[in-house]
Symmetry: C2
Subunit: 121 residues, 2 copies
DNA sequence: GGTGGAAATGAAAATCATTTTCATTTGTGC
DNA sequence: GCACAAATGAAAATGATTTTCATTTCCACC
């Protein structure tokens, strides 16, 4: 068993609390941190076990890791340039909670993303 | 461009309208149908394009294909048993439209899923 | 300080779903 | 029959993730 490398967590934080393993790895590389991809995966895995981060899936199946407990937000992503805007999602929270109740689900989380073309593209 | 092989759709139906590409393929093999994995993928892809099935993700990232009605809807997925409920998402539509406008995005789509534990799990 | 074992690390190989390539087959209109 | 487009599938490529395994780092204890 391995514990999480603290630099992985701090990088995930710096990435806005929302990134894939590959992205965390590339980010650390770019910042000159010496770390292996394996360690990034292992650290994220262990953070998930410890319930410090959540894992969800992108549309293409890539796993994305998200800090839990953080103010929860969503993303508006440009299909053209990849630019991302964090947006507030109070409406979604309420919707998710309502739908869950209505169908007898508990312990629910959710994902929501909006994608389109930004003003520049 | 390729059109969907009708046997793929009928197999997906027989599988309960809910299966991964690999499962559809294995099922067809077991039933003695001669078909290539590539064709299964292509057919499912094309059914998705035609909005005859939609695609979601298992926890392990594998894509699962599911027959669906025509109305745009979202899913409430049980993390325990994989059970899925189609839910209505009018609130999301409005939210997405609003957020897009606010940030100058156009031509937007969105994804939203709720996951949790169903009453049985 | 040295020593032994457990935990952490990372490079490289393995895995697995999915996509791409490309040569072959099938179908259709002429 | 003939040409040509679409469909097919085997095999290779891709890309994320996991596994393997040899090496390094860390401690606790002497």
């Amino acid at each position: 068993m391995s514990r999480s490398n603290p630099r992985v967590l701090s990088t995930l934080e710096r990435a806005g609390g929302f990134a894939s393993a590959q992205e965390v790895y590339r980010l650390m590389q770019r910042e000159g941190e010496s770390i292996g991809l394996t360690t990034v995966y292992r650290s994220l895995q262990s953070l998930v076990n410890d319930k410090i981060v959540d894992v969800l899936r992108r549309d293409d199946g890539e796993a994305i890791y998200r800090l839990c407990g953080e103010a929860h937000h969503h993303h508006l992503v440009c299909k053209g340039c990849g630019d991302t805007v964090e947006i507030e999602g109070g409406a979604i929270e309420k919707w998710a909670k309502m739908m869950a109740e209505e169908h007898g689900f508990r312990d629910v989380g959710h994902t929501a993303e909006i994608f389109g073309l930004c003003a520049k593209c």
